[in-house]
Symmetry: C2
């Protein structure tokens, strides 16, 4: 049997490796359009922050290892362009521009996502970059090395934008952020989002939300981002306004798409064609709270879905759990986390949400080094169920995992409030901040 | 109605405060034999570590606040000695040695626990101390201040022993630990316990397990702890070999006792006498994994049980969840945590346990500052259920809470392995160490 994988990053290489482990006799062919496979995309901002570190440090496993030790037919520089599901064949072009066609028995689409760019004049100027693939990191580090880059403008205020602002500051670059809509991290409770804004501004970063971006002008290697009543200047502009799934090839092949135009998959990762699977940032998932399809492209899901797709391809029937949308990031000294639904998302999903935001401490009463912990919990008035948790702190962000597990278990807020969470003075107050929040929320449900 | 509380620490004062909030007209009388109420007992080692900090910093709320602002009739220096359940009366002695008798409608026994001392000659020598009450902390700090204390011997190797060894080292004191039975933290997997031993020994602490303690000799203000083939010397000996519930008064009143001679209570915190409740370190609990009675005296349970007892006294019927035995502590730069059952405990409870121990990282591939995370997970071969989790790390101990919630939810190891836990490079690998452990354990069940 021939198992063809399109895309050689997290989901694709997880699937290829797993398939070979499951069934060493299987012919596993991976088509990757770049020369990079299996790297830590999420680590790129931290690598960029350090001029001394090579981008290649981010490579988790080299192509040669996949080829020689794992027996995977890994074809880098191979760009898949079209799938014919009837003929079970992938068509594409190799690094030399030569067309190829490749039949398959089972296919995995693991094409990932691509960065979005604002649709404004000048967005294609040299010096305007995005960060999605390893070659983007190389390009950014090359620009910084060629420098001098003294100022940078980041378009967007999501977690990648914030991680990159931190990385740029680490490199001694003065950074500012701009976006058309109001609100830094609009999914975050206003009080919590304000703490993130304060942290970012305290490092000298300009935060300009609610500013329409009109155009980008380039002159003498300097870029001007012209916004409403504001022009931001720099030698580098980073577009971090979001991503879209690379699903055009799947759509052209007639496969069903889900939310955000991600490839729709079932709990076995099968698409609407039973011979074609999809995993990673290009595919959708079911949400554990709503049971509805969502598109939340994150690394753990990509790896997990890659494994599960391979198991199913190999005749080991495997269904995977949905996602809770658990995500954490660091920006300067702040830690930010979320799992489950915001109030707005809960309303849209038909729940009757109530929320509390509490302020607690990261360590016990009178323990040195304690800092403030902010938690918002969201619950359902109808049946008392926990719907979501949001957290901003300076230590202890792994607390968010307790709420994530509670979401998977369909726990009520009252049951969550009754859980036996850890306590010791260096690690928190007697009542863990999650419990304090749950105790407060119970009263409002 | 008259609500009498015996014991003015975590459980007792939580109950008294809650009862007054619930029903301001209620007469709430607290009998506390010392002058200290509502202090952070768990914070004592950290306070002792710092010569500059006053012991009084550990007081969370002062007696005057309870009396004047909360309207609680708080009688410090009042030692309860006997309960007559038939006459609903407590008998005791006040600070002046005057006998008192106090009728009650509802009674809460919140007498806590008392430190154990090894039964060896010389254990009553001056300079042999324990750490349970605030007055113990004062005594130890006074001994250290009067000094010089250059060497100290700690009897026992539990978490209080380890926290105190760290505190003594902070004070520049050379410490050693000794216990008769082999094994530092015998409930911890051998590989994990070895990491704790290495950490402690790397700070110059002598760890002498498996050494019978024969006697303590005192000469010229120096103490010699004479053990098998070993004599340890110091100006201070700390007994940290465990605690026993202060349940004699309850037993004399004919109340049923549970494991470890703790006062047996139901999920409403009622004892075998419906007018008498018990909460805190003197009372037992149900274990969420076994559903059997256990005695695990910890602070969160004491506070939670105090609240629930007060609610029940006030006519707000409240049942509380069992305990998972979740506990964490820090020793030097190590963080140690547990929740649920060890393999041995699981066997005793009739499960068919399997366990894995894995080694993972605290941060992502190639992320600076990463350290090793060790996790042991225990599951049941019969029905796949998660039974326990144990962790040793240098950061991220709050991960243990995810497993604690899974225990409360009766989750299988497979379901736990499918949860959407947080990932970002500064906070862990893509597969959270808990998930890596769960993925491994699934294969063994």
């Amino acid at each position: 049997m021939k198992f063809v994988v399109i895309g050689g990053d997290a989901a694709g290489m997880s699937a290829a490796s797993r398939a070979k482990r499951n069934r060493p006799e299987l012919e596993v062919i991976v088509l990757e359009q770049t020369e990079d496979v299996s790297y830590s995309a999420c680590g790129m901002p931290y690598n960029i922050a350090d001029a001394e570190r090579a981008v290649e440090d981010l490579v988790v496993r080299r192509a040669a290892v996949f080829r020689q030790k794992q027996g995977i037919d890994l074809r880098t520089g191979h760009r898949a362009e079209r799938i014919d599901p009837g003929a079970r064949t992938v068509f594409g072009v190799d690094a030399d521009g030569k067309a190829f066609e490749l039949p398959y028995d089972r296919l995995l689409i693991a094409t990932g996502a691509a960065p979005l760019f604002p649709d404004v004049p000048g967005i294609d100027a040299p010096g305007v970059v995005a960060l999605k693939q390893l070659q983007d990191a190389r390009r950014i580090k090359a620009l910084l090395a060629a420098g001098p880059v003294k100022q940078a403008v980041v378009l967007g205020m999501g977690y990648i934008a914030l991680e990159m602002v931190e990385a740029l500051c680490e490199r001694g670059i003065s950074a500012s952020m701009v976006k058309p809509r109001p609100g830094l991290l609009p999914w975050l409770d206003a009080e919590l989002a304000e703490k993130v804004r304060e942290e970012v501004e305290s490092r000298g970063v300009g935060v300009h939300d609610g500013r329409e971006i009109h155009r980008i002008e380039e002159a003498d290697g300097r870029l001007s981002v012209v916004c409403s009543d504001l022009t931001l200047e720099g030698e580098l502009v980073l577009s971090a306004v979001g991503v879209r799934p690379n699903s055009d090839m799947a759509a052209d092949a007639g496969l069903a798409l889900g939310p955000g135009r991600a490839v729709a998959v079932d709990t076995r990762l099968a698409t609407s064609d039973p011979n074609i699977f999809s995993a990673g940032d290009c595919a959708d998932a079911f949400h554990v709270v709503t049971n509805e399809r969502v598109w939340i492209p994150l690394a753990l899901r990509a790896n997990r879905a890659g494994w599960a797709a391979a198991d199913n391809v190999c005749g080991k029937p495997t269904e995977i759990e949905g996602v809770a949308g658990t995500a954490v990031f660091k920006v300067f000294d702040l830690q930010v986390g979320r799992t489950g639904l915001t109030v707005a998302e809960a309303e849209r999903a038909g729940f009757s949400p109530a929320a509390v935001t509490i302020k607690s401490r990261s360590r016990a009463h009178a323990h040195p080094g304690s800092s403030t912990v902010y938690i918002q919990l969201v619950g359902d008035r109808k049946n008392g169920r926990l719907l979501g948790a949001f957290m901003v702190c300076r230590e202890g962000i792994h607390r968010i995992n307790a709420a994530a597990v509670a979401l998977h278990a369909n726990m009520t807020v009252a049951a969550f409030a009754g859980t036996d969470l850890a306590y010791a003075p260096p690690f928190g107050p007697v009542w863990d901040p999650m419990l304090t929040a749950a105790n407060q929320l119970v009263k409002r449900l």
